[in-house]
Symmetry: C2
Subunit: 235 residues, 2 copies
């Protein structure tokens, strides 16, 4: 599975990569997104600017790699919250996962904002970059639990006949991409929950509702209650 003993060079390189990530993150957190430049990161490490190009092909790739790292960290925080309650009822585990998501976002607002609205424009997103794969893993962590829930204790879903035909078509396609683990109408419920959760966090962390709220934890909890109701997890 894993490679043999990494060579000394490989270890040094890995350490440098980690330092690059750490410095980039520090710049982002302390001085904002605009301060994250190739030159600044290199300077902060006591290197000359172009040296960084031996590690990343350019600014965009650096940003992508660091963002992927943030996503991984967020994903792992959620997985850990889930696994720490391996024997708890599925409802508890799901809620714990969601709360871990918000906890991470609130504890690391700069990083979360960076994930959501990184300076890398959508058209530049290469389909197989580390960033994209990390995003998929992130999206799947809730999907996994909802799919498991669906398998063991199906939740109420709308009648497909009541859904907009165009929507149903899209849901069918999505249902296929997730290996049919959720039928279209259950996928619809899952996606609604996902959009509500993720959307709420983005609103909060990106300061779109500061005009009314200073602490959105109760609002988030209310959102979780609605999710629980939709997934048939009451009591």
């Amino acid at each position: 599975m894993t490679a043999k003993t990494p060579s000394r060079r490989e270890r040094l390189r890995q350490a440098t990569l980690e330092e690059i990530h750490a410095v980039t993150r520090r710049l982002l957190v302390t001085q904002g997104p605009a301060a994250v430049t190739v030159n600044a990161v290199a300077r902060e490490m006591g290197m000359s600017g172009p040296a960084l190009y031996h590690y990343y092909a350019g600014h965009e790739e650096l940003v992508g790699a660091v963002t992927a790292g943030f996503l991984r960290e967020l994903t792992e925080a959620m997985e850990q919250a889930r696994d720490a309650r391996a024997d708890a009822p599925p409802a508890d585990r799901l809620l714990a996962t969601c709360r871990a998501m918000r906890a991470w976002a609130v504890a690391h607002p700069a990083e979360f904002g960076w994930i959501f609205a990184s300076p890398v424009a959508p058209p530049d997103r290469h389909p197989d970059s580390p960033r994209q794969r990390a995003g998929q893993r992130f999206e799947q962590i809730l999907l996994d639990q909802v799919a498991e829930l669906w398998r063991t204790r199906p939740f109420p879903v709308p009648d497909p006949a009541d859904l907009d035909p165009s929507l149903l078509e899209q849901l069918r396609a999505y249902s296929e991409t997730i290996g049919g683990r959720l039928p279209p109408e259950a996928a619809h419920v899952f996606l609604s929950c996902w959009i509500r959760l993720y959307g709420l966090l983005c609103m909060e962390v990106l300061h779109q509702v500061d005009f009314a709220y200073s602490d959105m934890e109760p609002v988030f909890e209310e959102c979780l209650s609605e999710l629980r109701a939709r997934l048939g997890l009451e009591g």
Copy 2:
């Protein structure tokens, strides 16, 4: 009310300002946010870079002014949809306003994304900038209608005693800032609706759900149905 005849100079200046906005917008739409630079805008107008500083103090102020213009345009589209149905029932007018919001966002994704996640970081937001005032007016347009609805045909609200105390406190403060036009528990309903609507649009326009949806119009309509139910506008 309005000033006297503007001098020739004033007219020319105004025309230049409009051209600046138009060129900036074109750059944003055709080449992305990164292409919106002071130099590029000036060059596109056949000017030298520093000339633009006679109109805006710098990049940030330019971006703020253009963003304010976008918000104004969006707001006006919503107001127009509302006023075109002056005699329709409040429910229809509210729905038309929301649909106009999405229609503008979908027709102008670059501009909407720019509004939501402009490169100007939150700490730089001066409280009395044109950008901020435009944002307030935008937020108020739905508030106005919901407040009017509350006045004429109150919708169901949760019992304040059931709300989290911290949340209730925040809602009280917000209720005051809007002149008490909605009591805290009604403000809570309004803010929930606002977050759902705005959050959904941000998810859509910023491509956060592309992995599942190609056309979110049915999803948006479903969201509107839920809003209608919450505001007691069925039938």
